[in-house]
């Protein structure tokens, strides 16, 4: 099955000059941990995760109301095309240890696909390489 049929097309994203507070608000409102950052015409610039906000901004004492999300995002990011298969997306998620992939077509963000979306084609969390992902460094808490 193609990613186009599995992805969520109604994606909330942020402009790079939005504040961290605004990105965090989206995370809180729709219960997600990652927000795509898009410039004009839905061009994907990067993504910011809840963890990025904590490690790159809060830990450094930055003002969350004035710091722009563009300063904390990860710009080198993995994405997939809507024409790719569920299996390919699953491999990408496993390789990069991520649970959500932005879906990009001609440079524009057209959707997002989550690991859970792949369950309909029989790909489950452990099979995508996640089963033991949290025990890579036992003893560190």
């Amino acid at each position: 099955m193609k990613i186009r049929e599995l992805m969520t097309t109604d994606v909330q994203c942020c402009a790079p000059d939005a504040s961290l507070q605004q990105a965090a608000q989206i995370m809180a409102d729709i219960d997600v941990g990652i927000v795509p950052i898009c410039s004009a015409n839905d061009r994907l610039e990067g993504c910011v995760t809840d963890r990025d906000i904590v490690i790159r901004a809060v830990a450094k004492g930055m003002d969350v109301n004035t710091t722009r999300v563009g300063e904390c995002m990860s710009s080198a990011m993995v994405s997939c095309s809507p024409e790719q298969t569920a299996q390919e997306a699953s491999n990408l998620m496993a390789d990069h240890q991520i649970r959500r992939l932005p879906v990009v077509e001609n440079g524009r963000l057209v959707g997002i696909v989550a690991l859970g979306d792949l369950a309909v084609v029989g790909i489950h969390e452990n099979e995508a390489g996640f089963a033991l992902s949290e025990i890579s460094e036992p003893g560190i808490h």
Binding site: V54, V58, A59, G116, A119, H124, A131, E134, H141
Partner: protein, 143 residues
């Protein structure tokens, strides 16, 4: 196997009057996403996650250099006794959808048990109820 044999001891904690910035700094330096909050004598008071900081504080635009952990942590929390079994711990994690449990003995925090610690006794993440736990609304197959 008992929780005592599987848990991590010597866990770093913070106090309720530390700031969110200090909590974030510790999360960054230890590369963790959760910090137990304890008072004198290691009495466990709550737990603070990176997600708590984002959803409860950053989303509301609070000054994270002044905001105290006390106002943003989860005070009522699930914990386990070190004498319990690994299976009991897995059951608790699944029930409450947690990946980490503080280990408490007579009110004192003595360690932390993460879902990965259970893998040595063949309890893996999906079996503890997490297989699709992070997916808010799993799609249903059309049969």
């Amino acid at each position: 196997m008992k929780v005592r044999d599987l848990m991590t001891k010597d866990v770093r904690t913070l106090k309720t009057n530390h700031t969110l910035r200090e909590a974030a700094e510790l999360m960054a330096s230890l590369n963790v996403g959760v910090i137990p909050i304890a008072e004198e004598g290691d009495k466990l008071r709550g737990i603070l996650t990176d997600r708590d900081i984002v959803v409860r504080a950053v989303a509301k635009g609070v000054d994270i250099t002044r905001a105290k952990i006390n106002d943003y942590m989860s005070p009522k929390l699930v914990s386990i006794n070190p004498q319990e079994t690994a299976a009991e711990a897995a059951k608790l994690m699944a029930e409450h959808q947690l990946r980490r449990l503080p280990v408490v003995e007579e009110g004192q925090m003595v360690g932390i048990l993460s879902i990965g610690d259970l893998s040595v006794v063949d309890i893996h993440e999906n079996e503890a109820g997490y297989a699709l736990g992070e997916i808010s609304t799993p799609s249903r197959p059309q049969l």
